[in-house]
């Protein structure tokens, strides 16, 4: 019995199989191990992301983005655990995979890059590369940076910077409350946000901050009471999942008319929980918005919706597939070392515009969007999310320069063979 994910991926891109048989022997199938949660509570997220990669790969293979080479993404369930991620990494390496991709949880990402560094050191000639499609811990491209890691999402600091600077452009906002989850990424957000708040506008006041235990709080009303008591007019939060939905719900209940500046309000699950409650008050920062200025990528989103009956939100899969294919084609090789060097400094056009893979730290520099939760009107908000009748209106697009940050990365590169 073959793996169900392998099964899914094969069946999911039936077109590939046909093309596979007819392609010349020269061409290779480049397999990428997708190591993310595929069972349990986070399975919905993982499945959606994997399907995005399947859709992108199908498109790339059809349009020969990587020349005659075929791309294939195969799911490996890491059960949202750093340790099982490592087991799956070993599994993948055993099966001959040279590329992996992962997103959910910086903990797992750090564990993976750590293990990959060790593996590559111990097994020259069998190097493995990590295409990061969403782990946002800035240390991945700073003190922990590695030649074998490429970050395609904007990291937490970049997003914080844009989010806070955008917040500062609204002169009505005076008092800000920061609430994040009590774990490493949450602490990162709090630190970054406080820093940017200080520099963004002189009269912005931080009136309170909280750290909530991850996924443990049922009733957010005490937090809302506290925010209310602080007189805050805006809340900045890196919460995701139920911790975000519950926060917004509780705010609405208590009649707290504050603005919410978030990072994850567009993630699967949150829109449904917000419903009408979040209208015009909730914003998110992200690398893409389907309701962007030109509706770039709408064809992808509609065909995705048709095929999987789900919203296409994981635009980073497009960036990865596009740039990865381009690197294979340009280097004429599927070897991670060569592909790696080809990716360094690569400029490309993604669905959010011009992007560049900074060579010094392997951080993709790209435009960021601020979206605001708005009733779909068919014009600026053409596409709603999760059938709620609400979608994200592009409030502002920030070019890559707005979020470019210095890096402390001192990268050790392999010899160019």
């Amino acid at each position: 019995m073959s793996s169900s994910y392998q099964r899914t991926s094969l069946a999911g891109s039936a077109v590939i199989c046909v093309t596979l048989l007819s392609t010349p022997a020269l061409a290779e199938t480049v397999r990428v191990a997708f190591i993310d949660p595929l069972s349990g509570t986070f399975a919905a997220l993982g499945q959606n992301e994997l399907q995005s990669f399947h859709a992108m790969a199908a498109r790339a293979n059809q349009e020969k983005w990587a020349g005659d080479n075929q791309l294939e993404f195969v799911g490996f369930d890491n059960q949202a655990s750093p340790q099982i991620s490592l087991v799956q990494l070993k599994n993948a390496i055993d099966q001959g995979y040279r590329y992996i991709t992962q997103a959910n949880g910086s903990g797992a990402a750090l564990a993976l890059i750590d293990a990959i560094n060790k593996h590559n050191e111990r097994n020259p000639g069998k190097e493995v590369m990590f295409l990061n499609h969403g782990a946002v811990d800035p240390s991945l491209t700073n003190d922990k940076c590695s030649f074998w890691h490429f970050g395609f999402d904007a990291n937490a600091d970049m997003k914080s910077q844009v989010l806070i600077n955008h917040l500062a452009t609204n002169p009505a906002i005076k008092k800000v409350y920061i609430i994040n989850q009590d774990y490493a990424a949450g602490h990162q957000f709090t630190r970054g946000e406080k820093e940017y708040l200080k520099s963004a506008r002189a009269d912005l006041e931080l009136v309170g901050e909280d750290l909530v235990p991850l996924g443990k709080v049922k009733d957010f009303s005490p937090y809302i009471a506290k925010i209310k008591a602080s007189g805050a007019d805006s809340v900045v939060t890196g919460n995701w999942g139920t911790d975000l939905s519950l926060l917004i719900k509780a705010a609405k209940e208590a009649g707290l008319n504050a603005n919410f500046y978030t990072y994850y309000a567009n993630l699967k699950g949150a829109p449904i929980a917000m419903g009408a409650d979040g209208a015009d008050r909730v914003r998110y920062v992200g690398i893409w918005n389907i309701n962007n200025e030109t509706f770039a990528g709408e064809d992808i989103a509609t065909s995705f919706k048709q095929k999987y009956n789900d919203d296409f939100t994981w635009m980073v899969s497009y960036s990865i597939v596009a740039m990865f294919s381009k690197a294979i084609k340009e280097s004429g090789s599927t070897d991670p070392v060569k592909v790696g060097f080809a990716l360094e400094g690569m400029k490309a056009t993604s669905l959010n515009g011009q992007v560049e893979m900074r060579a010094s730290d392997h951080q993709l520099l790209q435009p960021l969007y601020i979206g605001v939760w708005t009733k779909a009107d068919g014009k600026t908000v053409k596409y709603d999310q999760e059938g709620t009748g609400y979608g994200w209106k592009t409030e502002k697009k920030y070019e890559a320069s707005a979020s470019t940050q210095p890096t402390t990365c001192a990268m050790k590169r392999p010899p160019r063979s």
Binding site: M1, S3, S4, Y5, R7, T8, A11, G12, L38, S39, G40, A43, Q47, Q51, F76, D77, Q79, S81, P82, Q83, I84, L86, V87, K90, N91, I93, D94, G105, S106, G107, L110, A111, D114, A115, K118, R122, D137, D182, Y183, A184, A185, H187, P213, L214, K216, K307, Y308, N309
Partner: protein, 435 residues
Amino acid sequence: MKPEPAQRPDAIPARLRTILPRALPWAVFALGLIVAPLIFSGGASLSILSQIGTMMLLGLSFNMLLGQGGMLSFGHAVYSGLGAYFAAHAIRLAGAGTISIPISLVPILGGLAGMLFGVLFGYVTTKKSGTTFAMITLGISELVSACALMMPEFFGGEGGVSFNRVVGRPLYGISFGPQIQVYYLIAVWLFICTLAIYAFSLTPLGRMINAVRDNPERAEFIGYDPQHVRYLTFILSSFFAGVAGALGAINFEIVSAENVSTGRSGAILLFTFIGGVDYFFGPLIGAALGVFFTELLSNYTPAWQLYLGIFFVLMVLYAPGGLSGLLVEAVRPKVLRRSILRWPLLLAICVSGLLVVFGAILAIEMLFQRSLGSDSELKLFGISVDTSLRMSYVVVGLLVFVSGISLRWAWVAFWDGADKPQTEIAGVTIRRTGT
């Protein structure tokens, strides 16, 4: 003691005769540990074997509580996890040159750390037994796992603490870099600890914890403080849990919050129970099966947790002695004789049992495919089913129903006129309160 004269021809065989049967299982166990990686080679299977090894030790230490002491703990991962954290920090310090400790001895350190917390938390938990004990261990488990995220200084946040297990100069070419060396490190420790845990069960305290399990009140009237017996056993069990934790840490080179999580504790309980808590070797079977479920089965199906849950519930319902209990039951002469005499019925049981399992798996996979995937076509066991058709469900449902009925019939007929094998639940005595 005077030495046995070598001339006496029957002296040595007589000694051998008593030692051999006792030593034989251990020799087989040791041999199994040695040859396992030769049979299952390859990076991932070595890693799986290593995991099974640590899980076995964890299960054995857990069974000191559950099987031997009747203490149903929902927080065993706390001790192994904290042991793992201490081991991780020690290796980091060793890597940085701050302290000097060989990797092969780090498990002792982990064990001592686990033991330390056993001393601390055990003092609170072992005051009670039964349901209350279970609840307090759950509470402490929640507390510790929450702390793991709140105190990133020690626990490393959700990223955990990672390190490089290759520390210092290799000794006799052993650096513990290659997985095979780690495997044998685990195997050696597992063997030593298994011996130690077995030996524990033969000591006065080891016997008294059985007595306390059976009848804590009477234990008081033969001079023992049952709380103290439980407490000491708990501390020792925490030590072995800590050793297992440290071995796991060395294997993964990372320790994260999930090592102390309630989910992990639940998994230990699940696996150990499935293996069977009545027999010393039960947890070994449970560990192998548990790792099979979480590491291997999860590669094939997203429904593995459901299978695990169903499997567990079926065990509780029909085989509370666990797999080891079933095994021992199955090789009883009475059962064997009946099996041979009534082989057609046995065959019918096997066939219909397999059909039920097959149908159930098909049904579950169809449902999961429908809820997760986009494709309506499910390929399984070489057949292909259209999950979008209502008819497929009807057919599969009928299959399960019909084979279920025939299984039941065959089972009843097989045992007709005989006492059905009665397995009693193990070491756990949670007595009804208030009656």
